[in-house]
Symmetry: C2
Subunit: 221 residues, 2 copies
Amino acid sequence: MDPLDKLTGSRIEKPQTAADHVATTLREAIVKGSVAAGTALRQDDLASRFSISRMPIRDALRILEAEGLVSIHPTRGAFVAKMDTTEIREIFTIRVLLEVEALRLAFPKLSRDVLDQADHALNRIDEERDVSRWGILNLAFHMALYRECRNARLLTLIEAQHNAADRYVRVLLSDAEFHTRSDTEHRAILNACNQNNEALALQLLAKHLNDGCQKLIKSLK
Amino acid sequence: MDPLDKLTGSRIEKPQTAADHVATTLREAIVKGSVAAGTALRQDDLASRFSISRMPIRDALRILEAEGLVSIHPTRGAFVAKMDTTEIREIFTIRVLLEVEALRLAFPKLSRDVLDQADHALNRIDEERDVSRWGILNLAFHMALYRECRNARLLTLIEAQHNAADRYVRVLLSDAEFHTRSDTEHRAILNACNQNNEALALQLLAKHLNDGCQKLIKSLK
DNA sequence: ACTTGTATCCTTGTATACGAGTATCCCTCG
DNA sequence: CGAGGGATACTCGTATACAAGGATACAAGT
């Protein structure tokens, strides 16, 4: 086998298109909470703000719609997806399902390397003062544990659901108690992995997600 | 609260846009197998075939990309997603997960009405001579059992994964033995539901999906 | 003969322009 | 004074047009 295959295989370079740029920027803004749920996203308004035409904007909105962050009504426009407890419950039901399975599949393959990556992500959360970056680091921690499940499709779904949930979670981050408890739970999960205790790790992960869901719902009413 | 909200809420009428039309047509063609996996989907080629411009085509391709039926490489174009055993395994792992959970959630709420709908779908499969319609009817049977899970997001994911799998399943339909066995398994699941035997129904469903996956993989090599 | 450079073509990404549908506001009528 | 109807403005969906990037074929040099 050609030794260069590793390079081409691992790094599938996708030329960053304008639509992608808009999508990531908008995604961050929505997840971050800087645009309220229900806000109308006018195409030519966005176009002028980004100093581009409406076409890439349309593409970006379609991308975000697929991720569940915005909903598009033909002839009426795009809106930041609503924030209701029903959807939160739906998302977290799915997340528990997907993520527990991902960890279960990945567990036998967990190496020192990925566990270190997960640990590194947790440490960076502690050091990070910019609240808006916690979401990404949180995702990095979880994904590090799941990556070895060797199911690209599953990982894609998990990431999408995580993003959909993250903008809700955001409102809790100012709550210091929530943050420290989340950190404690993260480290407990990682410990279970280090001790090769699969059943415990899965149970802790499910509890971690369910608790977050309950906390979130409580904070919204 | 306005009593009319119920109407507007339940029936969200989406004016069928050209992009949607193209998406459904293309989806059927891909699932049906009339366009081979890996085929390049040229935008202006499709545009001339549908006698419209490239813009709705682009939108349609994005929709299908989100469903996992095509993959888009910037500056290179869109291609019908590849058909390999790896992806089949990935899809069915996810399907088992999602569908078993959906049935579990729906089980306590299963009514005579929905069970009749499921039964009706099975009878229509037997009567249907047009092989290309079996996929839709098969989906109808499964979705009837899951609908009452009351998780719209979960149902959307299930439908997407089903579509992604269906075009592989298609190659097996000519196999009469596969078809009769699938029918037997379907009726067994429905029976378990009718007898209110949840554990059995879930087990049969998981087996039904896993067996289909194995059969599929075997037929491809 | 194989590699490398180049020119052409092809395809996509983006911009601008136009038509259609919807919502809003105001005017008129009861 | 309130309700209904019509005109206007706004927004989206679609078409056409242009620009940029990559792929391919061919030619030249080693």
